[in-house]
Amino acid sequence: MDIENETPETLQDAPPPAPITPPPAPLPPVLPGPMALWQFYLVAVASCGLYLPFWIWRTARLFGAGVRYPSTPAWWAIGSLAAPVAACVLFEFNRRATAAAGVRARAAWPALAYLGLYLFWGLTPLGHYVVAFALLMPIPFVFVQSNINRAASSQSDLPHPRRRFRLALALSLTLGFPLLVTTAWFYDWPALRTDLSSRLAGGDVVSGASGLYRITLPASGWRRVTPGTIGDAGADLELVGPGAATWIIAYTAPTPASSLESVVASRRSQLFEQVRTQRYQEKRYFLGGQQDLVPASLATYDVRDGIVAGQYVVLSAELDSHVVELVAYTAEPKQLSGQLRKLLETLSASSKEPAS
């Protein structure tokens, strides 16, 4: 049919044209279901953070419907275990959530808050506590969740959490909560006791529970902690030092059941068995010069655990009635090895030590 040739009557009889409307917009993303923020935070903390990978996986899946992502939701979840990826995830989720909610806000700030909190945790004494990590790090996620909630409130047909996801939530709580409690007990509680312990000054003289010996601290930055905090309960003295992972544990063993030789050999066997030793050096001499004729062994073990290098310095000395062993470790051997040796070599028998 040629339109140019049709009569007006024909045109007038025709139904009115439909109003011109813009082409249909793509469907808004199907948002995750709303969740009370307190509930979200509580679950994230109580699961020791294990809930968050599930949350990322689910949110990525929902956000990703009809959208092409560079990776699968599972990889988003796994990748978020690394802080930079987690920051990217937060940025992307928040960008989509604010867009969906029509909120004018900077999409990047939860991600920036996440990185800021991460650095704050790592660079302050809070870094000694896993629980602090579990408490702090969900906060940026809460804000993303609040934007998701806001966007979701405009939608009536919110999907209910799938059954599978409820299972995951339960699972993360089941696994995570015991993990949180265990970590708090075995890691954070000793760390708390360490941080609450008294700080020692340079020149302070420290004795162990046995009272058999004393050591003099050459510099400040050391704290005395309850035996069992770092080593086992059989320790006579425990000190936590400056820098990362630097500590000293003292043990005593009665003579003649133990000797300098047996104590040195036993520690050597244990360390060779338990850590990858790259270099071992030992020297024996009379401690404190020739005055007291106390035979001592100073052994240095350069060790490596994966990419982490460390050094054990072990001073064993045979006093009249006991062998005293000071086991020191530092993860910063270049900075602290000298100080550790100097400290260990201040060992001397206290007047309480019975004469042979």
Partner: protein, 663 residues
Amino acid sequence: MIRGWRAGSGAGILWLALASVGAAAAPAGPRLARPPWLHLDAAPATESLITSSQLRLSAEREAVQREQGFGAIELWRRDELEWKDERTLSKRTLRVRQYLTNEGVRQSGNLDVGVRTQFEELWIEEAWTLLPDGRRRPVELDSIQLVTSGSDVFSDSVNVVIPFDGLVAGATVVLVTRIVERVAEWPLPWSEIFFPQGWAPIERYEFEMRWKASMVPRVLRTDAAFLQCQTGSGHASCRAERIPAVPGQGDSPIWLDVLPQLVVSASQSWTDLVLAEQALVERSIASDRGVKEALRPLLDGAKSEKETLDRIHRFVADRIRYLGLEHGSAAVAPTPAARTLDLRYGDCKGKVALLVAMARQAGIPAYPVLVSTVRSALDKLMLPSWKYFDHMIVCLEQVGARGPVCLDPTTADAPTGVLPPTLYGSVALDLRDDVDAPHEILAPPVVVDIDVRTENLLACDGNITEQLVRKHNGANAVWERRLLRGSTVEERTRWARYEYQSLLGNKTDPSFQWSGLDDPTQPVTVSSTTRFAGAFTRDRTEYYEPTDVWLRHYSMRFATTNTRYPWEVPGVQIQSTIRYRLCPSDRIGFVGAELDLRSEFGSLERKVQRTHQGVSVVSSLRLAPQTITGDRLERYRRFLERALAQTAVWFNVERSAQGGASR
């Protein structure tokens, strides 16, 4: 066998019967042929001036002594010296001994008196026993025994032994003797040394010396703090009560350096003594007929003074055997050099006289030196006396030497210029005109020098072959050579095997070789080869923890359990080098401790080095020559004990998975 035993037992009974018949017929005991110097006219016990109350310890004191374990104590000891004139000295001795136990009777039931029979006469004035029931029983004088001793030294010295009869616990013996000495006949100035403290407690000790006012004054010196002494014109006396026994020790010290003593002499100087002894020796040296002729072939071709001295020393040490005929004044006056040369034997003085005579003929100015082999404390020579000295050596000044070079011609085991180790540090008196005091023989910085080298081959089949060389250098070699050269190969092999197995276990059977035994200029070397079969497994990583047993073994010779008396330590240097050579497919992992254990007594050091085929461990113990006094002995013991506890060597061996071929 059974029949033989029956026949034998029958014969035994027969002989027993005959013997008992013979015993009944024989005299009561071996009768003493009385020499002219012995006078056995003892007074009857009933006439003794000693009252019975002086012969019993109070019950309280007896309980104390019993509690301390003494079986016999000296109730009373008295030494009296009385000069009749300048020529004659009367020496009276009273000894009263009470026996507390039968063990005391068993151990010390005899008393004895020493007599130099050419100058002295002995009177036994009283010899009797107070029995527990109060009876006095005289000694059967015929049972008194005369004892001379020595297999290569003979003299007129006789020990007169009085065997008290009827002794039981609770008895007390009394012995009063008098020796009259013809002092003027003795060629050296008179002196006496008494020891007022003994191995048993002495309840009462008295000393008294009397001389005429017209005589040269007699002098008394003592370091016995418990003695109360008085001296006056013509007399000197000391007394003390309740003198405890000398405390014993596991490792005996040089007793004469520590026992309290009382020395008496006529007023004289060291120079007087030197001149008197020098005159005796020079007279023997001057009698040198035949010495020049003997020297001519001996020194033919000798190029230096050192070589000349060495040849002379070797001649006297090796070709003049040691034998002493020391009767009368020959105890201090040497045999003429010519006679010693002719006899081809002599005692220390005779050999010294010959050596000095030969040296001087060859133009070497040697001189004799009196030495004590049993004294090293100079401060114990409180008055000039020849009685301190029991030996003679030769010394000479040599250009460039640290001190005089000394030789002991009585030992064939020492090279020229090296003395037996025991002589270093001894007190000595040079017999030279310009000498006015004794001195100590200067010891070299190192007297005991031992070098141990061990090569261990850790073969791929798990066996270890050890080659051990122990080298004794310097003065220490004199000891070792003396010990080894006098024994047969079988004897020394047995000894060496025992020593080795006591340290390394009896599952080994080393073979031994010796060198340097007959050449004193060479070190004495003991070499051994031992194979330890299946000594280790072929695990990927194996830890070795052997102990440096030889370093420890030789070092422990200088340890002591003594806690009271001064302890003499010579200069010691013991070096041990242990090398471990691995199977080519193996490599050393980590190595054990280096040692740097130092004290004022010495040091123990160790260096550990990886070598291209294994590991080398060099340890060295050094002790400075020193006298360690009682208050420092505990510290010395602690040093040695704690240092030597660190002699374990440690290293680990990494093996390739394939292992190596056997070799």
